[in-house]
Structures are given as C-alpha cells and as structure tokens.
C-alpha cells in the first residue's frame, strides 16, 4: 500500500509521539488516572476521534494490523475515514476481523468477540472526566480524584433509583479501576462494561478535545458502580439479531420503512458476519444485505 509523501510515518511528528508515549506509560502505571498531554491538531475536527487517533499514531508500527469501529460497525463514516487515514499515512494493513487485528480503535463499543493478549483496544473519548457533569471545575474534580471522594456519583445513581426505580444510566456508565480511580469508560453501552474487567488485552483511552490519556492494563479489575440492593445490570433484548439470530450480542434497532416496521441487528458487524459465515441465520436472512447498515 502506498503511503502519503511529505508526512512522517502515521502523520504525527516524532517529538509529539514521544510525548504521547510517555503519557501512555504513565497512564498504564496509574490505571484509570487521566494523564494530561499536549494534544495536537489532527486533520479532522475534534469529536471525530482525534484523541484515539493520536494514541493510535503513537502506538502503531509497520507490523500492526488495524481495525477501526464506530458503534461496532467497520463500515460507518468515522471508521472508514480513520482506517483509510492510517492505511495512507502509515501504510499498515487494515482488517475488519476482530481476531486478526493487533490494534483496534473504537468509538463507543467493545467487540463481542473476546479480545486476546497482545491486542490493544484504543477508545475515542469525548469527555474523559466522569465527574464533569456533577462538578464542572477541573480544580475540584482533581481534588475529588486525589481524595477518592466519589460519593457524589453514588448520589447521582441513587437519584436514578429514586426517580425511576432502577439505575437508568445506560451508557458512559462509571467504573472503578483497580479499586482506586473512578473512570469514564467512554460512551460505550453499559452492556460492554463487564468486558473491560480482567480483559487480556491492553485498553488505552484518548480524549483529543480534553487532552487526556488514560489506560487499563490487561487483567485489571474494573467494577461498575452500583448498590447492594440495586446491583449493576446490563441491557437485554427480547429480540434476536434479524441477520444472524444472536440472542447475546448488543442489538441496534433499525427502522426499515415509513410504517414503523423495524428490525434488530447486531451492532458489531464483524461478529454478525462471522456468525453468518458459521451458518447462523436470523429471521431476516432473505433480506438484501444493504439493510445491514446500522443507524447512528
């Protein structure tokens, strides 16, 4: 694959990469703690994954195989453009298969297929501070982290229980990492939270706008906050995936016409494809594949 001329390998200059690499190492050493770094301008707007891209650019090497997903899908705009960006600037191989990838940059999902040792999962993070909507001042949230003063978050979850009878937070669900730091898992559905704990792969988080990097090393305990009488629960569906029939993956609801018809399909397109290849079928097996495209 040809690489772009006039740019350094993987776009970022070496000095910036070194700075980001040092931040990543500190992040790994202090799991869940947000390390400030000198975020660089990337050739796409903030909010499009510039934090994740800077982490990927600093980690990626010629031998890597990159997969990029956006809400679980390999074929959405954000995923396609970031994958092409690194194919172009680093000349690396790309893949859509979770099992084959050495690096997976993700927006808002963790693949359904369990990740393995030596894979690295890189999250794009919009707002890295879990306490930000409770306490807008950075000086204060820093103190709260320093003192492990996390009661306010329990109160927020309790307000859910008081109002709705259950914890209504369904994504961006706060976790405690290694029993010390409260961490924002990025806006993944809480369905994915349990996958973060004791994962054999390394998890890195990059927030470009807020200029923070944090990490969860392999085999690290990640616990979702809850109460004794309202334990943490993940979403479940009465439906199964219309394409592959999976009843255990995260499903997207897709509106199929103007009359309110809808179907549920796996949000993880590679997982769905893998199951179809294995011969699993759903109720809509005869539908054209163009309807696989998920919304959002």
């Amino acid at each position: 694959m040809s690489t772009a001329t006039g740019y350094n390998f993987a776009y970022l200059d070496e000095q910036s990469k070194r700075m980001i690499r040092r931040a990543i190492l500190k992040g790994v050493a202090i799991p869940g703690y947000q390390v400030p770094f000198g975020g660089r301008e990337m050739p796409l707007p903030h909010g499009w994954g510039t934090g994740g891209m800077q982490v990927t650019a600093s980690v990626i090497g010629e031998a890597d195989k990159l997969k990029v997903i956006d809400q679980g899908a390999d074929d959405t705009t954000n995923a396609v453009s970031i994958r092409r960006f690194f194919a172009h600037t680093a000349g690396v191989e790309t893949t859509e298969q979770t099992a084959e990838a050495t690096l997976i940059q993700t927006r808002h999902r963790i693949p359904e297929r369990p990740l393995q040792a030596d894979q690295i999962l890189i999250y794009q993070v919009p707002i890295p501070e879990p306490l930000r909507f409770i306490e807008p001042r950075e000086s204060e949230t820093r103190k709260m982290h320093a003192l492990s003063e996390y009661g306010a978050m329990q109160v927020k979850l309790y307000e859910d229980v008081a109002r709705f009878g259950h914890i209504a937070t369904s994504y961006d669900y706060p976790v405690m990492v290694n029993n010390r730091y409260m961490m924002d898992p990025s806006p993944i559905p809480k369905f994915d939270n349990p996958k973060m704990s004791m994962m054999p792969a390394l998890q890195l988080f990059g927030a470009g706008f807020e200029k923070r990097i944090y990490a969860v090393p392999p085999f690290t305990q990640v616990e979702s906050l809850d109460f004794d009488d309202h334990p943490f629960e993940v979403q479940s569906w009465d439906e199964a995936c219309a394409i592959c029939g999976s009843d255990h993956s995260f499903l997207d609801e897709v509106i199929t016409d103007d009359n309110g018809s809808k179907m549920f399909v796996c949000s993880d397109t590679d997982y769905c494809r893998e199951r179809v290849d294995q011969g699993f079928v759903g109720t809509a097996a005869d539908l054209s594949t163009s309807e696989q495209e998920t919304e959002q």
Binding site: K17, A29, I30, N178
Partner: protein, 207 residues
C-alpha cells in the same frame, strides 16, 4: 560539559520504526509487569550503558525530559556526550528534579529522594531506569497486581536489601510512587507502582 565528538556512536538506523518498536516493548513490560523482553534495534551502546537502557533513552528521552545520572554514569564522557547529542535531554544535579533517573544498581538514590508525584498529579513522578547485573524470571519476587493474571516471578540482581524493602513498602503510598525499568544487556523488564512485591515463598510444607 561539552559533547566529545570522538565518543559519539550511531543511534538507531531507522529512528522512526525503531523508536516505535522499543516503545511497544516498553509498553508491554509496563502493562504486564515482570515480563521480560529483549530489544535489538541498536547494535552498540555508549560504553557504560546497557543496550536496553540506550534504546529506551533513544526512544523516550528528548529536550523535554530532565535526566539524572548516577555518579559513575555522570562522570562518563561517552554516556553524557551521546545522551546530549542524540536525545538533547537536560541533565540535572538533583534526582528529585528528574523525569528519568538512569542509575547503576549499586548507585541507586534512595526512593525518598525521587519525585513521587503529587496526589493531584501522580503522573508527574520520576521514572527510574536501573542497570542491573542479571535479570530473569527465577522465583525471587512474586508479583501481583494490574497486568498480571495470577502471579509472575522476577529476579532482579544486585539490589540492596534496604532498596528492596523500600520499593516493596512504597506500594502503600499509591497512587504516588516510582515506576521502574530494569535493564540488563538487551533485556528489559518493568515494575509500575501498582505491582505488589512479595518475597518468593518456597512451596508450603505439607500441612
């Protein structure tokens, strides 16, 4: 002290790729504490530096990182000249001011003399790079914590007893702490501040 040009050696043949590979090795050992790796992207190191130390320096150090060298290294013209020339890192006189400390195992400063970071910014702490005479997975320390599924064993030779116990006890001050790289020839391991260290216990007597 000026750079002595006759002491200079070549850096990485391919600085971009080699820096990335060495960083990935550093990332692996730091995220999987006690894991040993060998790095071979440079053929020679300045006299006085282990190959792995030299490659770490080329990969991670630059004008933004203050470095403290232990006395023998600080008096070594080859080491200083090459660090100045290749990394352009400022050398400081006090280990507390350093982002990276590079030290011989026999010349280690007290852990208390290093910068442990602050409660609000625990990342602003010294990273310690120690050159040791031997490094292996023989059972000496039993390690546990993030990055380790059950336990892992590591043997770092040449550390004084007080330093070993200081390091073990430093875990109580988490999130403050010192992250360490251990270097021996082309081998490297790391212990971040999260790793709990226990002396290896021989198999319990039958009970």
């Amino acid at each position: 002290m000026a750079v002595s040009s006759h002491e200079l050696i070549a850096g990485f043949a391919d600085p971009v790729q080699a820096s990335q590979q060495v960083f990935r090795a550093a990332l692996k050992v730091m995220s999987e504490p006690g894991t040993l790796v060998e790095i071979d992207y440079a053929e020679t190191a300045p006299k006085g530096l282990d190959l792995s130390t030299w490659q770490l320096a080329l990969s991670l150090l630059d004008p933004n990182t203050r470095v403290w060298l232990s006395p023998t290294l600080a008096a070594n013209d080859a080491v200083i000249s090459n660090l100045r020339f290749h990394c352009q890192c400022p050398l400081v006189d006090n280990p507390f001011d350093a982002d990276f400390v590079i030290a011989w195992h026999s010349e280690l400063p007290l852990l208390a003399e290093l910068n442990w970071g602050t409660a609000e910014y625990p990342d602003r702490s010294t990273t310690l790079i120690v050159q040791v005479p031997a490094l292996s997975d023989e059972p000496d320390w039993t390690l546990s914590g993030p990055g380790i599924e059950h336990t892992r064993s590591l043997y770092v030779a040449g550390l004084s007893e007080p330093f070993r116990s200081d390091l073990t006890r430093s875990r109580q001050r988490f999130p403050l702490g010192i992250d360490t790289f251990w270097c021996c020839d082309n081998r490297m391991a790391a212990l971040p501040r999260t790793t709990q260290i226990e002396p290896f216990k021989k198999a319990e007597e039958a009970c």
